[in-house]
């Protein structure tokens, strides 16, 4: 009996917290955590709407589920590559503070 808006607000809150994490954390790995949170909020939204549509349409809805599965894979891939980059950056620079990795500065 939970209204859909609660789920959406909850995911929005999670998203904003993740966003804040990404924007403010110094440590690159923390940024990745923030990203994880944001991705999860998306999936929550997705499944909330999936549930909403199944309830409304009274029919099987596969696409949201497939979409969610793909979000999972993308999140996994992204974390793997992100962490690999961070580790190799760490090996080169001995520091993974996002602020220091600014060689692309103009």
């Amino acid at each position: 009996m939970i209204p859909l808006s609660w789920y959406l607000i909850f995911s929005a809150a999670l998203f904003c917290i993740g966003l804040y994490g990404v924007l403010s954390r110094k440590n690159s790995v923390a940024i990745l955590m923030g990203v994880e949170l944001m991705l999860n909020s998306c999936t929550i939204n997705l499944l909330a709407f999936w549930h909403y549509y199944v309830q409304v349409r009274q029919a099987l809805q596969m696409s949201p589920l497939v979409f969610a599965a793909i979000i999972f894979t993308v999140a996994a891939a992204e974390t793997a590559v992100g962490l690999a980059l961070i580790i190799s950056a760490y090996r080169k620079r001995q520091s993974i503070v996002a602020g220091d990795l600014d060689e692309l500065k103009g």
Partner: protein, 726 residues
């Protein structure tokens, strides 16, 4: 070979000779001599054949033999050019052929053909002799002329021009021959171009004749524009045309067109035959080698002028009947002719150079012919033209052999005297007998020794023409100049031949070789026999013996003027007195001159006049003053200094300065500030913009994300506002 073809062929051989010598044979003297003589010989034979064929024809003047060819297309008709033979050109052809041949033969010897090359002879200077070593030591010998072949080429061209002039049937080819002769005279006078005086004389000759030619050209142009043709048949032979020309008045001084054109052509003649105003070039033309002087002053050039005057007599005497008052041009002719005769005779008195005396005598004799023509004595003028050509050529070649002998003496003695000055000569009678006798005949012919010489008959004709024509004043002037002529001729003969040699060189003078004296003898024969062709019937005694062939042959040309000629004894008598008196006086006065540097016996009696004569009335200085200096001034200062230097250069320089100023101003005001400034400004602007924007790319990822979020928020807001609110 019919006559027309022969006529066409007469001028050709000398031209071919000229071409071959110039192009091919200018190094081989022998070949060039052969070519030149061959060419002249051929044309001599052709002209003799034509002459003897033609004299037999009765109505030659009405129907002259000739042929014409289409030369220039003038719109639908063609300008015809061709050859023609009539009594006047036949006679001229005769004496021209003979004199040119004799001069060619003479010049072979004159230029020491066969002699060794000169030691230090430089082309452009007369030969200075060569030292020859033979049995008994070395002695100086005459050296060959360095530009021997070139000389023969040029005189061949000269011959071609003369033949072309004589043979042509229209004024245009006459004018072509006229101009080529002008060119050749320039080249030949200036033959020894290394001598500065020769160069100046050549230019002087060319320019003064040029003046005359210019008027003549205007005359021809006027004639052509009115009548539409230039050939003799169409104009002189055509009554209607002549009448039209005589009656229509030209815009100038009220003269009739014929008169006006006649005058213009006469001015050309004055230039060419060295009449009074334009005679200055002839004495200076003596710079050239003697055969050239002979050619120019005796045979061709000057006689060409008189020939043209005679040819254009119908124009000059348009509307004149025998005994009627002279037309304006005829008056002019008479005045100019008479005055020139007297004027030149007086100058000749005071000249020491043997060739200059003859030059001035030529000018006075031409004055005679022009005066005769002016008075209507057409046949007399032509007759005198023919006889004069013979004995004047003889005198010139004679003086050439005298000079040649004197040079021989100069080489022999090594003395530095002027071989042409008569006062250095004297007593050459014994040294150069052949030259002396031929020179004597020539001299007597010139001064008109009665009965024997041709000169007497022709001069007498003129005097009687003048007298009978009623021009007493002209008769007196002509008689006086005849007296003076006789006087200076005898002066010349006594100074050079009689008496004792005044200088060592004169003692060693040597008779010139046969190649030079044979032409003298031939000319001497003609100088005597030419007169017999024109003995007037009315002459007491000899009148009837020989038919006056010349009178009816050439007289037939004046087919429209047949006034009968009444004859009186007065001119005959005066010419006798004048000739003999002059000769006697001359011999008496100059007999006693025995030193080279003696003053001229005539000096103190004539006093100031003599000085005037010697200075040639200062005409040259006058011209120098009036024409040349102003011209130079005009060229040098006015055009060069003022116009060119100040005006034009000034304009150019100012334009250049203006350009520089403008350029500088443009650069300062437009180029630097606007373009450079603009360019630099843009560059600086972009650089500043770039550095300003650099801050944005700080390399910190989170900063980018914040920016993204901000933008997202803004757009979201805007979108929300637009979509939901509106």
């Amino acid at each position: 070979m019919n006559t027309q073809l022969l006529l066409w062929l007469i001028p050709l051989p000398p031209l071919l000779a000229f071409g071959v010598i110039v192009l091919g044979a200018n190094r081989r003297n022998g070949l060039s001599t052969a070519l030149a003589l061959g060419g002249v010989g051929l044309s001599f034979l052709a002209s003799m054949v034509v002459f003897f064929r033609v004299i037999g024809i009765e109505d030659l003047s009405e129907h002259p033999i000739g042929s014409a060819v289409n030369w220039l297309p003038t719109a639908d008709t063609w300008l015809k050019v061709g050859v023609q033979i009539d009594p006047l050109s036949a006679v001229t052809l005769f004496f021209v052929a003979w004199t040119i041949l004799m001069i060619f033969l003479y010049s072979v010897g004159y230029h020491n053909f066969g002699q060794p090359k000169g030691d230090h002879d430089v082309p452009g200077l007369p030969p200075h002799g060569a030292t020859v070593k033979d049995g008994h030591g070395s002695h100086k010998v005459m050296s060959i002329e360095p530009m021997y072949a070139r000389f023969f080429a040029l005189i061949s061209l000269f011959a071609f021009a003369m033949y072309l002039l004589v043979v042509s049937d229209n004024l245009l080819t006459l004018f072509v021959g006229w101009e080529i002769m002008g060119l050749c005279s320039y080249l030949l006078i200036g033959f020894w171009y290394a001598k500065d005086s020769a160069r100046k004389a050549a230019v002087k000759a060319f320019l003064t004749t040029r003046v005359g030619d210019m008027f003549m050209m205007i005359g021809l142009a006027a004639l052509y524009s009115i009548t539409g043709s230039l050939s003799y048949q169409d104009i002189f032979g055509n009554e209607a045309v002549m009448h039209a020309l005589a009656t229509t008045t030209s815009p100038v001084f009220g003269l009739s067109w014929a008169g006006f054109i006649g005058l213009l052509i006469f001015l050309g003649v004055v230039g060419k035959s060295a009449q009074f105003p334009l005679h200055v070039w002839l004495p200076d033309a003596m710079e050239g080698p003697t055969p050239v002087s002979a050619m120019i002053h005796a045979a061709t050039m000057v006689s060409a002028g008189v020939y043209l005057a005679i040819r254009s007599f119908p124009l000059i005497s348009a509307g004149w009947e025998q005994g009627a008052p002279l037309t304006v041009p005829m008056v002019v002719l008479t005045a100019v002719g008479a005055f020139t005769a007297l004027f030149a005779a007086t100058i000749a008195l005071a000249q020491n150079d043997i060739k200059r005396v003859l030059a001035y005598s030529t000018i006075s004799q031409l004055g005679y012919m022009i005066a005769a023509l002016g008075m209507g004595a057409y046949v007399a003028a032509t007759f005198h033209l023919v006889t004069h050509a013979f004995f004047k050529a003889l005198l010139f070649l004679g003086s050439g052999s005298v000079i040649h002998g004197m040079e021989h003496g100069v080489l022999h003695t090594g003395a530095h005297i002027d071989p042409q000055d008569m006062y250095n000569m004297g007593g050459l009678r014994k040294k150069m007998p052949r030259t002396f006798w031929t020179f004597l005949i020539g001299g007597f012919a010139l001064s008109g020794f009665p009965m024997v010489t041709a000169g007497f008959w022709s001069k007498d004709e003129i005097l009687s023409g003048a007298f009978n024509g009623g021009h007493i004043f002209v008769f007196v002037v002509l008689a006086l100049s005849a007296f003076l002529t006789a006087f200076y001729t005898m002066r010349q003969i006594t100074l050079t031949f009689l008496g004792k040699p005044r200088t060592k060189a004169a003692e060693h003078a040597h008779e010139t070789p046969w190649t030079m004296t044979v032409p003298l003898m031939v000319l001497a024969v003609f100088a005597v026999s030419a007169g017999w062709a024109g003995i007037p019937e009315a002459f007491p005694g000899l009148g009837g013996l020989l038919p006056n062939w010349f009178e009816e042959f050439v007289g037939s040309m004046l087919h429209n003027v047949h006034g009968e000629v009444h004859h009186s004894l007065v001119p005959l008598f005066t010419s006798l007195v004048v000739a003999l008196g002059g000769l006697l006086l001359g011999w008496l006065v100059y007999r006693s001159v025995d030193r080279a540097d003696a003053a001229d016996p005539m000096a103190e009696p004539l006093g100031l006049a003599f000085v005037a004569f010697k200075k040639k009335y200062g005409i040259d200085e006058l011209y120098q003053l009036i024409f040349i200096r102003p011209a130079e001034w005009f060229a040098e200062t006015f055009t060069y200094k003022w116009v060119d230097k100040r005006l034009l250069d000034g304009i150019l320089h100012s334009i250049a300065r203006l350009g520089i100023l403008l350029g500088g101003w443009l650069r300062r005001s437009f180029d630097l500030p606007v373009i450079n400034g603009g360019g630099n400004g843009i560059a600086r602007g972009t650089r500043e913009l770039g550095s300003a924007m650099r801050g944005i790319q700080s390399g910190r990822i989170q900063q980018y994300m914040i920016a993204a979020i901000a933008v997202l928020a803004l757009i979201g807001l805007a979108f929300y506002y637009l979509v939901f609110m509106a």
